[in-house]
Symmetry: D2
Subunit: 357 residues, 4 copies
């Protein structure tokens, strides 16, 4: 895809902040990775003035040199790898900071159509998050980053999004830092409006209700932020839980169908809300929370708790709405629950959106 005008050498400080690893990770690995790149490996150390000069002139002139390399290789057949001489020449050609390498993205566009969002989607990236208790947690996010593009500009510079990501994730994230990251996209991409979205699994340690055995529960979290002078940040947390059907309980002589459900709340808040806070609210809205590790006394407990606490999908979203309406930090919410019905192959679903402002 399209790239950037700035073609400087790699900056050391970017390299050091790139990955959430322990201090004993040496740089030698990364270097050896780069060297192992097929064609690149043959040219290490060969960036002599003469070679670069010769390719440069060939580009400025009739482009015969490089073109003939291409033709040569094409004629040589499809299986024969480029000769190392040709490869080195190509690498030099590419690395020469030629003024002739046109910046297509920066060209003007005369279709008179502004673009609402353009950028990178589904970037898989490790992120560290600050946990509510002051610790840290590393997870893997799927990230989207977009800007609004004015009508007169042909294209955005995609590689800069990745550079912002590299820079901004060197410190552990908290929900309240996301607006600053989104503003950083505006600045780096020189855009009036930017969007940042990240979705990831977040783990919370949870003890079994009776045996107190520890386990790790996984929740799906989304951060979504728009910055265009002011910032609009929405945090979503989805928790698996148990729902037990009140109708089934009422009409049956024994038992009641129940199932895993997925309860989700997207919220806008005026004071910091932690992922852990939302998890707690979400799980209270279910017939019973779910757990990673349950011993027999725990299983008895959750079975009976769910039976004592039957809820339609409608009840879950209503009880969750009540809880969020009572939470002063939260200004707006959009909630839903999806029940993976144990008696059907389809799901039951309910959704409520409320603006408290």
């Amino acid at each position: 895809m399209n790239t950037d005008r700035s073609q400087s050498a790699p900056e050391a400080q970017e390299a050091t902040t790139l990955m959430p690893t322990r201090p004993n990770q040496s740089e030698s690995h990364a270097v050896s990775k780069a060297r192992s790149g097929s064609l690149a490996s043959s040219r290490t150390g060969s960036r002599t003035a003469s070679l670069t000069g010769s390719v440069k002139s060939s580009r400025g002139g009739s482009a015969v040199g490089a073109r003939s390399v291409g033709n040569m290789v094409k004629k040589a057949g499809t299986r024969v790898a480029a000769s190392s001489a040709a490869a080195a020449q190509l690498a030099e050609s590419a690395s020469s900071n030629s003024p002739a390498m046109k910046d297509v993205q920066s060209a003007s566009d005369n279709r008179n159509i502004a673009i609402d969002r353009v950028g990178v989607k589904d970037v898989t990236y490790p992120i560290r998050l600050r946990t509510k208790d002051g610790g840290e947690q590393t997870t893997v996010a799927s990230i989207n980053m977009y800007v609004a593009l004015p009508h007169h500009q042909k294209g955005t510079h995609m590689s800069r999004f990745l550079e912002v990501l590299n820079d901004e994730t060197s410190e552990p994230l908290t929900p309240d830092r996301i607006p600053a990251i989104t503003r950083a996209i505006c600045e780096r991409l020189n855009a009036e409006e930017a969007h940042f979205e990240a979705e990831f699994t977040y783990f919370v340690r949870k003890l079994a209700p009776i045996s107190k055995r520890p386990g790790l529960m996984d929740y799906r979290v989304k951060f979504a932020c728009t910055a265009n002078g002011k910032e609009d940040f929405i945090m979503s947390v989805a928790a698996p839980a148990t729902s037990l059907c009140p109708c089934s309980k009422e009409i049956s002589e024994f038992g009641a169908h129940n199932q895993r459900c997925r309860i989700e709340a997207a919220v806008r808040f005026k004071e910091m809300v932690w992922i852990e806070d939302l998890v707690e609210i979400l799980e209270k809205a279910a017939s019973c929370p779910v757990y990673a590790v349950l011993k027999r006394p725990d299983e008895k407990f959750v079975t009976e708790q769910a039976y004592l606490n039957p809820k339609f999908v409608e009840d879950i979203v209503r009880d969750l709405a009540l809880a969020l309406e009572g939470e002063k930090k939260i200004e707006w919410f959009s909630i839903n629950s999806e029940n993976f019905e144990s008696i059907h192959s389809h799901n039951a679903y309910a959704q409520i959106t409320r603006d408290k402002r």
Copy 2:
């Protein structure tokens, strides 16, 4: 999940319209299916007054009879299937149209919280569609159906959604029939507002550009409609296509990276637009359409066409926006393209929404 108050016997006319099959499908299969249901099979023909009566009285009374069946089976261990006598008794108990079988969903609710959407999600269902040329096509849809629930009502009647679906899909669908289906949900569920969503694969026969070999192209289509007095219908079509990067072409001596992309348009229209119409518009916005079958002369053609027609993801959405702005039938559109970049593991994405009204 919650069910319906109407507990009448199966209606023959529903049964006959249920499935898009050829006339030679007999009813005997469906009946044998039902009879093969484990417990149900033992009770066929046994709905005698005496049995029904005995269970009824036990429910009206102390419920000792059925409860003791449950205890008996529980004590008998987990592997032993219910005795056929017990099973028959339970089937009778369930089938008796007892006035004691409470309609929990119709109870009142005092939390004072209306629900925006509640219903069934991810119903997998076969649908027939009328094609633009007057033929028909059967495909498999994933369907969501929701209603708004007023604050005072405890729950909706989920099974009725499926009944609407069974009834309304007996005739081939066209985009302009979807509002009527959505209104039918309002009526059957007695709701002020209803939502209908269906997503499915739609096939269009397409000839290879040079050899004219026929092939079937698959497109993803979504219908989404809200009815609340008036109807708001949105149709989305997504087409796979080829995009070729203008920057890569410009700066490289030979070749240009290209990739599969996915171009999508959601539209509101005031005059009927066919899926086929949108497909045609979408494919023109790409560097080149994709095909199911390509012989060598075709492959040469599409390779060269894409190279002659380089487009950034920004170009694709802008050209598509231009085309849709020029299409008088269309009042509103939201379009996007996602390029599965051949030189990255992430995607490039652009999106534009415009209201022409």
Copy 3:
């Protein structure tokens, strides 16, 4: 991808068998589709001997003509579409059955490495199936088709797989016709061994257990066949169902956790087994089947049936194994059940494979 040597004009008989549509589908649609293809449209009817000849000679000679078209367009900038004159010329160039168009796939390969499977994957395609009761059903399949490639051959001809698919699916499929389709791949691709795999949703009409309301249940089915002189065909069917935990029932004062599960059986058989037959066997192995439409008396029935019939995931696969061992038509099976535990966010799983031969 790679294409085929045979570059003849489109064959009418292929076109007519391509799509499972009603008789009133005219050919005019397909033709108009082809005409709407961007570049192709300008050349319709222009396949005159003179034009073809001129391009041919340019290819046979210095290739200056077509090459200069490319350069011209490249220099003209990235947004300007190819002129229609250039486009027509390219189409002619591609359509000319030039002896110079090399068949790269048929070249010899000297790496001495045979390929186990090579072909097309994830082809989305409509298929018609014969149902057990003699009717028909159209659904959408995801299809893979592969051949073994001997060490000396460079590549396979991918487009031929699609042509086999077009030809072989004109008649409704039954499980016992799959081996013939797989043999057809061997023949058309001139291969010693071929593989055919199709996965699709299959619908079975099912009446609610008490109210007898009709509904459509969806099952996931896979056909997988290898042909290499003899044929090896495996059919898999997966059914959603209800499982209820015996431990939870045993240790709890009331209730028992239950959930949707997915029970799957892959079988090799020596006498025809219908999808419907496997569905029936699968559903009997669960605590209770699931249904599309359930009214209140039905819901009472399935709730109680599941409670009376508690099964661990281990019990489900064992009972299913017992049933399949007792089924004489079946020679081999591999079965599994996955329970989407209502009290955990992970699943319980069990699997058994047995060869009865």
Copy 4:
């Protein structure tokens, strides 16, 4: 699901090793989480002898107490939460280590059917891995853990799988530690055979080929191990890459279709192979590797490298097979490549399996 016989209090050492967090994570968080559990919170500190005793006796006796709680709540209607008194009583009932709480899983089974695999599937869990350069990396895995169950045993103890996972992941993983984890499952579950499977994203820092800008590439990795006296471990790594079609290049005047592909190698090795080692081998088999960050000179380089290095999907797997046959540490491999064709909506695929032993 089924649980374990051991019902002791939580063990402190398990708690401390549970999560890969920094030292400043205090235990207070986990404790407060547990306290926030709905019913459990009301009983903290209330485990007095008298209460426990009273519930115990009620269970040992007529079970009137707890049963009547259930009835009371059921009659109270579906929306009323259990009173806190009832909840506390239930929690006590569950926590009492009653000899009456039957271990259903340990019962004998008389169906005479052994189960090949039974256990937990799709456990989402954070894992830390040792990187080749001596550092560490935390990622999120989807984990399956199974045991073989002898014919005479009714069920396995699912919660123990999670306990093994908690225990064994306290130290950073390397591929050569997986067999020991699998043996630990055998021991803890008292099984003859166990299976461990983990799939996760692994990041490798990679410099752009010319600008040397750093970026993080994401690869999908699978560990799969069976232990049954001896261990059989298979490691799979999948890398995204670029493939460029030799046929398209050969027959076209300019350009060549190319696309993202996914190249995967599963290997058995006799000497330690790092994920990084396989990544390097995989990427060399493609037309060109892909990168996270590419500036313009990099984009020129990868475009031209791919064009100089055209490969059918067949070429990719053959070149990869050659490389793995030359790698002495590797004893067996199964490799495939899937090309997401830019000119089709389906994929091209090839696969080779070889045993070098």
